[in-house]
Symmetry: C2
Subunit: 306 residues, 2 copies
């Protein structure tokens, strides 16, 4: 194949405050979370996933979602986002009054993962699409996005074939079309770090062929996080979800350490001449702060060199 030119510029969505703090056994104090978020904002990060509106008894690490939302630093040009798994979570996120949430739908090609994580199967989720459509419509949400966990592999089901992901996207496109909606983005998440250069190439190409913009959320579990990001940049992907210091991981996968570290991704882009709007040394300082807050060395690499 012929390499594309690398994109001139990419967007990095920081997910550390949500995914990182969620994955810890300890509960991080709200003040510490806010200190990290302020540092990210000061360093120039423009989009931050700050929490998830899930059940406080199930995920005590994020039970301060409302308080955190209330105390987020206002900053022009910074977009805060949050996750939710169901309508109750979505309404809580909306009621928090801070989030300029895009509308997200969450799914997975792994039925087993969905049963564990969402307590529902793929057909259940698809049957809810019209319900979500009317909720989003009532809230004037226009940009509809689809997050696909375990797009490349699953701890329960092993490697996932791109055609299964394509099937899921097609089903969603069809369900959405029947209520007059389309997708603005599909985010392919490598939740357990099983993606590799060839599967990135195949899956990204296959989903793109459906005419939907693709973004990536990659983990470094097997040491290929940055390499997969490099391959995705070669393919012209321009939106990546990363986590400061590489904090994060799937709570259901033993030893599944680490999202791609934001500062390592910024460093890679810097060497390739790709703009991120961020400086890696400054981001490395923020990773140092994350390490201090969490109290142990984090998976990220480049921050340890400053």
């Amino acid at each position: 194949m012929t390499k594309n030119e690398f994109p001139r510029k990419i967007t990095i969505r920081e997910v550390g405050p949500r995914e990182g703090f969620q994955s810890l056994s300890q509960v991080v104090p709200t003040d510490d979370k806010l200190e990290l978020i302020r540092a990210l904002v000061s360093a120039g990060v423009k989009e931050i996933e700050v929490t998830s509106f899930v059940r406080p008894d199930k995920v005590p690490q994020l039970s301060d979602a409302e308080e955190l939302a209330r105390r987020l630093p206002a900053h022009a040009g910074v977009k805060y986002t949050a996750l939710y798994l169901n309508q109750r979570g979505f309404e809580r996120a909306e009621a928090s009054g801070v989030f300029q949430n895009d509308a997200w739908l969450y799914t997975s090609p792994s039925e087993t993962f969905l049963r564990h994580n969402n307590n529902a199967g793929i057909e259940d989720l698809l049957s809810q699409v019209p319900v979500w459509a009317s909720i989003f419509s009532a809230r004037q949400k226009s940009a509809l996005r689809l997050m696909i966990s375990n797009s490349f592999g699953c701890a329960y089901e092993g490697e996932i074939a791109p055609k299964v992901v394509v099937y899921i996207v097609e089903r969603y496109l069809s369900a959405l079309a029947s209520v007059g909606l389309s997708l603005h983005e599909v985010c392919l998440a490598d939740t357990v770090g099983m993606a590799h250069p060839k599967s990135i190439e195949h899956c990204v190409s296959a989903v793109r062929s459906l005419g939907v913009p693709v973004s990536l959320h990659l983990h470094d579990t097997r040491g290929l996080g940055i390499t997969n990001s490099y391959v995705a940049l070669e393919l012209g992907i321009t939106t990546f979800e990363t986590s400061i210091g590489g904090i994060g991981g799937c709570p259901f996968t033993p030893g599944a350490a680490g999202n791609v570290a934001t500062e390592d991704m910024v460093y890679l882009c810097d060497t390739l001449g790709i703009e991120t709007g961020l400086a890696w040394r400054e981001m490395a300082q923020v990773a140092r702060l994350a390490e201090k807050i969490i109290g142990r060395p984090l998976p990220g690499r480049v921050y340890k060199t400053i």
Copy 2:
């Protein structure tokens, strides 16, 4: 540019027993080193750099070089190698009676590094080429190889331009030609982990244009070790020096952690359909053993998932 086909097969030289154990503050018992070497051999590793014949008072971690050499497990098809910095070290390696050493010359484009590491400058080293030539000739060494430390960057001198590396190689080729010798290999070592995809591409291409086969010795200090290896595979490089568990690092560079981990490299190759003669899960078990011997988690990624 157009991507090359990936090579069908590569050779992995394991350097963990030398570089890994040398970089530790603790001295690893000879029995433990031998246990790791036996495990590497059992897993199918065919070339292992086991020690360095340096001054025991300067590098107590490798003061057991002679004993280790004497006790190495004999195994058909396995090649043990060792480093040396000077003629005394070379003669000790030869006298150990075990090594089927190729002849290596060691240099660097960083004058400052050479002064620290070799207590000599580049011109001093070049002036010794005829001396080495007669030593190698007396020992019937035919395959002459050149190791270039800090080929991509140096803790003292920053990023190193490919043209400086090319200049060094040209000087060696010329010095060797004057005594009737040529180079069978140039190993570009990213001693402090400053290489990145573009510098790999530029430096490898530039040195190759001199007609010498290139191998790589890469570190993961800034998180690009595996990505740089991927780029090198795209360029058709077929010989890599890696370290089990990612142990190793430059003692002169604070925080400069880790060679590319052998098992992570094997895993990458496996996903690309490139033969290494090794199985990543088996190599991951050996990394587990290395972790047990060293007594703390190692930088390698994939071994933590088994």
